[in-house]
Amino acid sequence: MNMAALLRGLRAGRALRGLASVVAAPAATKPQCSSLSRGFHRATLRLQDDSKSDKPPSSSSTTYHEHYQAHSAEQDTAAAAQEDSTSDPAADQASRPNTSYQDQGGEQGEEYETEEQLQARILTAALEFVPQHGWSMEAIAIGAETLGLSSASTGMFYNGAGDLVLHFLAQCNSQLTDILAEQHNQVQLGQAERKKTADFLRDAVETRLRMLIPYIESWPQAMSILLLPHNIPDSLKHLSTLVDDIWYYAGDRSTDMNWYTKRAALTGIYNTTELVMLQDSSPDFQDTWNFLDNRIQDVVNMATTAKQMQSTGETVVQGFMGAAITLKNLTGLNQRR
């Protein structure tokens, strides 16, 4: 009974302290800067949740605009954001829409984060043990133990190894998006040259596939997990957002059939290159990059061939029309009587 009262008192005290910090923060020395950075911190937290959770952003281009702006702005306020970056009860209270423990004020030991963030942390810690234990619950259990949590917390992951693989996919995709946004930024600032489309695609796919290298031994197991029926929707979503990202940063703003053909082509290139990489034993996967070069060249050739065929077709049709009219003139059928 006293234990219960003590616990309740502690919790109330912590909640009050949380509230006090929220009230006191606006009266800080740099009110605008800190609130701005807290806002961006909140935005990046939410975006981190979005990119780490298994739901894709609803409209990819607008999200990447937000992400890009938040990313560049965060660099500007990096100094001010330092002090707020570790734990911010206000930001976390705002970014906990799906928990019903408002009265607890976001305090539970040292967990100033949502359940999703904790799950993401466990999965990230578990990735370290994947080369040894494969994509399995054991890796997740050991990952949880390195964070100081009991191995029973693996029960949170109802999809088991699938959760781990999907988390890894989401992490790689968001890393790639960061890199591409950074490059885009450099081009905007004039510090780098804009690449040709074929080169850009090649570099983007290579960067993304290089992230698989530490796990290449167990990647076939991961692919088989992704092909399980209940994982297929999620894995397709990740693949489609990846391909969309790459094309967006390559500068594709098409609104017609090209949108679909371009993404289909890149999906084919990415999947086949990934499969080639699995059984590639050349130094630094040189064979894979050569294969990638050839495939991109194929697609580029096909595009130019299609254009040539179209113009050739038009010319041929014009030629026929001309020949027909000449014939008609010769036989006198074209004269008007």
Partner: protein, 328 residues
């Protein structure tokens, strides 16, 4: 012989009539009754004399624990038989599903509160043992053609590779139930990693942060202060530990609910009288199920106690609910 049979029959019919009237009133006023004791408790708190429900009766809180103790003392010997008869053997499936949902990792420590005759703990140790054997077979298969590197590695890592033992602690307030459980364990030959402790779920005799998994199967409705039991569970669990509760709950389907009610109130006490010779205990059992909060309410209680990621599954259409929460 015929005379004694007739006497028994007449006694059964008389008892059933008497309890039928009580239970009919109880069932119809079930929703009212559910809230009444909590409000009663509020008011009687002020008056300084707290009472709670014991089945459909109202008893002082201090007395409930004693009466529950007596109930289980009476039923201990025939507990397992009665479980099989009353649930038509389905209780084994429920407990198997609890273990399946738990999927404990090797080296986990289990605290089975109100574990009584040890069903959950036996299954847990069985699971741990088969997991270990599977692990051994896997390493043996991968070691069939060891390279020289593997052999040299084996020499160095022999000491570090001792697999962690899974351990289970069965805790119950009732010594009789623990005795029955210990006899079962001896007869089944399970002794390694199993301990039997007498303790009250509201005041567990363990230190903080001790266990990976806390289970309470069909026991929490007998606890006088459920929120205290939940807080004790939170206390003894390690960070990241899991709380799992298997308990009878509200049936969602109305047709099934009527059949279930009829079965509970007509059949079960009769079976109790015929097989175990104890009508009242099984009447208490059935009534206490009705007094227990439903799935959503119990989920809120678990969340209030401080658990996260609380979820529940209905088994057998809501007859039994499996709640699970994490200490994060």
């Amino acid at each position: 012989m015929a005379a004694s049979m007739r006497l028994l029959l007449r006694r059964v019919i008389r008892l059933s009539h008497r309890y039928n009237n009580v239970t009919a009133a109880g069932v119809s006023a079930r929703s009212g009754c559910c809230w009444a004791p909590s409000t009663c408790r509020c008011f009687s708190d002020v008056a300084g004399d707290r009472s709670t429900h014991f089945g459909f009766e109202t008893v002082p809180e201090t007395e409930k624990a004693k009466r529950v103790y007596k109930v289980f003392e009476n039923v201990a010997q025939k507990y397992d038989t009665m479980n099989d008869v009353m649930s038509l053997g389905i209780h084994r499936l429920w407990k198997d599903m609890l273990l399946h949902a738990m999927h404990p990792q090797p080296g986990a420590r289990l605290l089975d509160v109100a574990g009584g005759t040890g069903d959950i703990s036996f299954r847990f140790l069985e699971y741990a043992r088969s997991q270990q054997e599977r692990q051994k077979r896997r390493t043996a298969r991968s070691m069939q053609t060891p390279s020289s590197q593997d052999i040299s590695n084996n020499y160095f890592t022999e000491d570090e590779d001792t697999p962690q033992e899974s351990r289970a602690v069965v805790c119950d307030i009732n010594k009789e139930m623990l005795n029955v459980g210990r006899k079962r364990a001896d007869s089944m030959g399970i002794s390694a990693g199993l301990s039997w402790v007498v303790g009250n779920a509201e005041e567990l005799p363990f230190d903080d942060d001790q266990f990976d998994i806390y289970t309470i199967a069909f026991g929490i409705r007998n606890v006088t202060h459920i929120d205290q039991a939940l807080q004790e569970a939170l206390r003894v669990l390690k960070p990241g530990g899991r709380f799992m509760c298997l308990e009878f709950s509200k049936v969602t389907n109305p047709v099934l609910a009527r059949i279930y009610d009829a079965y509970s109130f007509q059949m079960i006490p009769v079976l109790g009288e015929v097989i175990a010779g104890d009508w009242k205990s099984y009447q208490y059992l059935v009534e206490s199920i009705r007094k227990f909060p439903d799935q959503e309410e119990f989920k809120y209680m678990i969340e209030d106690a401080g658990f996260y990621c609380v979820k529940y599954n209905n088994l057998t259409g809501g007859v039994v609910a499996l709640h699970s929460g994490f200490k994060l």
